[in-house]
Amino acid sequence: MDNLAKRNIADVLPHRPPFVFVDKIVHAEGKVVTTSKIFAKDEEYFKGHFPGNPIVPGVLLIESMAQTAGIAALNVISDGKMLEKEAAIFYLSRVTNVKFKMPVFPDEEVMATAKVIMSFGNLVKVFVKSKVAGKIVAKGEMILSRAIR
């Protein structure tokens, strides 16, 4: 396992609260990164999604997978030697073939896995999936572009 799994999220993601949808890196090895996230029941958005029937919004599951994909992409472009000062920003450029297979409820632990399929120029293609209690709740494909700064 790469040392990446021991890194602070703030070191490897440019996102900051309230828009961080990764709690911790569970596993990181080469092109594959798994993270976990618990969408706490007291989050403001559950009041409206949906009243009396709180369900994690699909767009937040996508964002959680995208942030995991960003960590995997960073791990690949830096050959697994990711350092804080090398942190790059990746923009979400394409999301395809996304399926939501089961609803996710507040306080469930969502494990998102991203696997880098191909890196070409400043673009990275990633397969993503999210699981709750071992069952796939969402999956899809994403393309990230590395921001040129």
């Binding site: 450029s93 394409r94 191909m118 070409f120 120029g121 673009l123 990275v124 293609k125 393309i143 572009s145």
Partner: protein, 91 residues
Amino acid sequence: MGQEKERELYERVKTMLVKDLRLKIAPEDIKNTDLIFDGGLGLDSIDALELVVAMEKRFKVRIPDATVGAKVLVSVDSIVRFIKEKQQKNG
């Protein structure tokens, strides 16, 4: 490569473009010299990555970097030429 095999390769490349890049045209409507980007088939730089992935999946050829990609991902003609070269090298 015989003429029949080459014609088949052109057809496979055009089918790849239509299927893997979700083009709204028929493979037979693509000309060998049509530009893939720059307004030709209406694809963009993000599609370039999808095309690289598709070529590896369908033809087992890898475009190593963006510099080679800029020369290869121009038209059906240039893609076929690249696949033929790679396949001949690999025997």
